[in-house]
Every structure is written in C-alpha cells, then in structure tokens.
Assembly symmetry: C2
Homo-oligomer: 375 residues x 2
C-alpha cells in the first residue's frame, strides 16, 4: 500500500529513520560503557522496544503499569517504572513480579519508601534524585535521601526482601536549552548528582546496583558516564520538532508524522483546513520556545516528507488543523482532498492519540505496529 | 465501589450533573422550537448519547466517521458528520448509508460538492457556512455557496440522488467571549448567517430541509431560533473550566473530572506532584484566556468534588501533573498517596485520553460507560 492510500489522520513511522535513531543511541551508550534502558513511554510499542534494546528485550523503562504489563506480555522482563509509585499501586506492581518481571519502582517520598518496605513483596526501589529539573526527586545531598534509605535493611538480598537497589534522576531541564554546551553542562550536573547520591547510600551500607540517568539530550551529548550504570532516553527513537528546535536532531531524523487531508480552503481568512486537529496532533507547543513559527506542527509533502515551504499548523480545534497561508500559491499546491504529512511538535503526546503506527519503507506501507495507551 | 477505590488516573462522570446539563439543554431547545442534535464528539459514548437525545437515539452529530460507525452500532441512525468531508472518505460514508444510517455530510468546497454529486450514492450534503468563526465555511452571501449548490439538481429526491439538503454553521467564536451579552449577539449573527444562506438556496430552487447552528454557548443563550431547524451543542453534556471561565456554566455543573494520586512533594520547588499529566489531562489551556490561574485543571477534593483551596495543575509533563504550592498546609492536606479530582480545562480533549468513564452517583461508582476514540 502507498502511504497516501492510508486513511487520515494516520500515524506514520519511517522505519529507516527509526533504525538510524536507535543505532545512534545504542552506539553512544556503548561508547560510554553504560547500558541503554530505553524509555518506551514515547513509542509504547513492543516492536520499537525490540529494536531499541538491540533485540534483547531486556532492560526497558515505562511510564505506566499498563505499559509494564503490555511489555511483559511481549517478553520484556527487566522493567523500570519511572513515575513515583503510591502505596495503592504496590499490589499491581507485586503482581508483575509474580509474572517474572524484574521490576524497579521509584519514589522520592520517605513515607512511600516505608510503605514499600512494609508491603511484603521483595521490591527493588530506586530513590528519585532531583538533579535540577525540579519535578520529582530529593536532593542528592539532603536528609530525605537518607530517610528513604533508612526504611530498608542494608543486608536485604535481591529478590528476597524489599531493598534500595539504586538511584534514578531525570534531567528534564535539558529540554529547556538549545545549545549543545548547555546540554553538556546539564549532563555533567545530572551525573554528579546521581553518582553522589549513590556514594552516600553506599557509605551507609546499601548495595546500590543501579545508577540511572540520561534523557535524550543529555545521553546524546554527555562526555562522561563514570559511575552511571544506564541511560533512559525516550524520545530519541522518533525525535520531533521539540528536539529539533533544541539542536538535538535534524528535521530529517524525525521518524513519526501524521498523515492528514486538506478538507477546506478559507481564502478569506487565509487558511487551509486539515482533518487533523488537537486530538490528532495534541496541543503541545514545546517546540515553540525556540521555533515559535511551527505552532502545532510543520506541514510536509506526503510523498517526500520535505517541508511544503513555510506552512505550519498555526491553530487547532478538536478535529481541525488550521494552516495559516500567506502565499496564495499554497492553495494550488494543496488542493482540497490532497494529503500532507505533519511533523509533530512533541512525538510522545502526538503518538498517544493512536492505537497503531503505519510502518513506512520510503513511501510504501509495509506493516502496522500496535501501541499501548491509557493506564 | 467507592470513588477513591478506582485506579489513577481515571475519568469520572457524575451522573446527576450530566443529567441536569442535558435537561437544561433539552428544555432550551424545546423552548425555542428547534430539535437538539447533540454533538457527541465530547462524550463519544452511546450511553451519554441516549440520554442527550431523550432516549430517542435519533438525531446526533459526530466528528469522525469512526464515531458514526460506533453510534450506528448502538442504534443511532440519523447522523451528521460535521467535519468537512473529502472525496477519499465518500466510500466509507456511503457504506454507513448502506447500513441504514441517514447520514449528512458537509463541505465548504465547490470541488468536493462536485465530487459528492458525481460519486453515485444519494448523499445529503450540507453547505458549511462561516458565521464569523473563520475556521471552515463559505460566506452566506458569497458566490462559493451558489457554486456548491450548482453541483446538484434542484429536483433531487431524498434518498434517490445526491442533493443539497441544508446548511450548517459553527459559531466557535462564541467560546472566545465571556459576557452573556456578547454570546447573545454572536447567537443572533449565527442565526442570520445560516438562515440567510438557506433563503438564498431556496430562492435558487433547492429544498433546504436542514438549517443547523448552535454551539453550547449560543444554544444556551440564544433568544430566537426562527428559521433554524436544530442545535448541535457538544460540551454542554459535561461542561469544563473553559465554559465556566466564560460564564456559560458554574463550576458545580462540571460533570467530568480526573481522579489522580499525589505521588510526591517537592517542597524545595514548592510543588505537589500528581500521576496525571499531559496525557491524562491534555495540554489544552483554553480556560486560561479568562482564568489564567487554572493552568491545566483545578484540584478538588476526591470525595466532595469541592476545590482544595487555590490549588491548580500549574504544569504538566507526560505523566506528571505539577501543582504549585504557596501555603505549606497543602502538603498536610494532600499527603503522598492521597487522591484528588481534577476539573478539566477542556472536557473534549481530556476525555479523549480514556476508553471509559467511571460513572458516579455521589461518591459511589455505579458502572462503567465506554467511549470511542481514534479515527
């Protein structure tokens, strides 16, 4: 099937670009001597996970327990659930372990740590460290980290008793800069924070096996991974305009896009209307920090995936994408009924609206890969 | 089951509020002598559609052909697909008619109108009119409207040949004001535009059966529906902070919410973290035009659904909701592991992340209603 034979809106995944993106990250991790534990919150796809783990189906990160269950169904048995757990979810987590999953859970709360220790299942807990993102995490040098650790016996054996198995951090602030020098600086701060936390815990007698860091920007541009055991980048499998706007990738690296139809010309208002709006693209505007012109996505040719000069999704309602037109030649280039590809602002948000990817080799649709959404 | 026994994030639907919202709109339409053809793009639920059509399961609006198919499966046989059609979707539309659906499709493109006329199936087409929203639609007094009409025979019989069955408009700009006087003004402009278009087409010999208007704000606050045959409001079934911020509803009318767990306290950063982020709430910020403080949603008590004084989802990442804290008492009020309800910024966008509603009577979960997503 040809790409333009798909219904619209459809989520497209360019296999050659995906493979190149994965290779780039696998090589980077190998060069620094750390494992790659890809964060599959972006792809939510077993097929992508298989590629991104170099076919080992081992060592992945997820953002929901539903993802964990889906990946376990597909043979992935070493899973880190990298969103703070709450006591009410411990039974579900323990059930995954009963299914053979080596599950790692995280928290930055001493209260939760005590609940994990008291639950009865032999959880591997990672303490979440705030390395400057100021989302979740405790400071590497603060009292709370030691309080979390104090919930566990230092002689707990893996798989036998709940234990503090490591530390984990997320340098989300690396998405907020657009110079490689700044990313390198954040990568080093990230490393020092989490390695420092690990050292403090080891000094207190804990066996810290896992020292986990590495967002897509910091993993790609870090120069040193000393003391780290793994990287957990996510969006690198697909990239998007958000990453492109920060200089982390080129536009030609972006592997996912949305196939859309032109459904109207409102010449009086200077607009082309698409059948892909807020639900099909998301309302994420992350890329706008450094590329305000892109709005909700960049309009590309459906065949070549090259930009249709200067056209962007400037506004969205639920099912309508609005493309601002300044040069009326655009109406002839994109007649009503024609198709375009939209490069997404933020791949993780956009892909979540779809149950599946149409897999492309060039302009041929060679298959369909499923994904898991929801909670 | 008690509301707080549900996993998080979950989509909640308060049945009493839903019923009251539907009653309000049914009475309004009846008082003006127009039919209510609810836009089920918001609810995407057969159970809600049954309520919103006063149990008649007749006369609904949808935003995707997948919705049309889903509602047809549930016995709804009079469906308007109110997003501009493209020629490539006509076969799928014709298939719905073969299944017994009285389908109405729309366009604002003379080219598409000609393709509809040429297809062979006896489509009922509505011409989309721009009444001031400047999304889709042709001007009511322009040449394009007559070009669309000219694609069809004026003596076409319903169900026998493709025909121009009516006109339709959407006053989306009624969401952009927050005074009832301005909404009333837009409602009258909307009516005059679409009724004027119908009159022009009738003067040209077409049998115009359908004159369709009425967004949630304009339907609720219009004073005159002379010449209209129906209203197509959508979000009224649930309401949201966007509508509340415009004065269209009260906060206590908002029928959908998201149950979330507190997963962390980042006291140094002044934040409570929730397990409900951009995917669970959407990144819509429509309410911020008139209530900038609400961010991505208002934090309410999980039991009472009343606001937890002055707490809002101030930021989101994929699975994290960030609640800015100014009064440290909030940490005690909402310990890690506790649950809250989030009132959504924009119900249509938020609900689309879920496959089902947990139906509430007070704080009891009395059932689950499915919904249809995707395309």
């Amino acid at each position: 099937m040809h790409v333009t034979d798909l219904p619209t809106p459809s989520l497209l995944l360019d296999k050659a670009r995906l493979t190149a993106n994965v290779d780039r990250m696998l090589k980077k991790a190998e060069s620094l001597g750390v494992a790659l534990r890809p964060h599959l919150k972006t792809a939510k796809s077993a097929a992508v996970g298989t590629l991104a783990t170099d076919k080992l189906r081992y060592g992945i990160t997820v953002s929901t327990l539903k993802e964990a269950s889906y990946f376990a169904d597909h043979g992935f048995l070493d899973i880190t659930y990298a969103v703070g757990i709450v006591p009410a979810k411990l039974d579900e987590a323990a059930h995954l372990m009963d299914r053979g999953v080596e599950l790692k859970i995280i928290t930055d709360s001493p209260d939760v740590a005590r609940a994990v220790a008291a639950h009865g299942a032999p959880f591997d807990l990672l303490a979440e460290i705030d390395c400057g993102d100021h989302r979740g995490g405790v400071p590497a040098d603060g009292e709370e980290l030691m309080e979390i650790a104090a919930a566990f016996r230092t002689d707990a054996e893996p798989g036998q008793a709940p234990r503090l198995a490591g530390v984990l951090t997320h340098a989300g602030h690396s998405y907020g800069v657009n110079s490689i020098a700044e990313i390198e600086k954040i990568a080093e701060e990230e490393r020092l924070a989490v390695v420092g936390a690990a050292e403090r815990l080891r000094a207190a007698g804990h066996q810290i096996d896992i020292v986990s860091a590495g967002s897509t920007p910091t993993a790609l541009f870090s120069k040193d991974a000393t003391g780290l055991t793994e990287y957990r980048p996510g969006v690198f499998v697909f990239f998007d305009l958000d990453q492109q706007s920060r200089g982390v990738c080129d536009r030609s690296d972006i592997a996912v896009s949305v196939l859309a139809s032109v459904i109207g010309h409102n010449k009086a208002a200077g607009k082309i209307l698409l059948d892909s709006g807020g639900l099909a693209l998301s309302k994420d505007r992350g890329a706008n920090a450094f590329r305000p012109e892109v709005g909700y996505g960049e309009v590309c040719d459906a065949e070549t995936a090259e930009p249709v000069g200067g056209l962007y999704v400037s506004g969205v309602s639920q099912e309508h994408g609005h493309v601002a037109v300044t040069d009326p030649a655009a109406y002839e280039k994109l007649p009503v009924g024609s198709k375009v590809r939209i490069l997404p602002n933020h791949a993780c948000m956009t892909a979540a609206a779809y149950d599946a990817y149409g897999i492309l080799e060039g302009t041929e649709v060679v298959g369909t890969w499923d994904r898991v959404n929801g909670w």
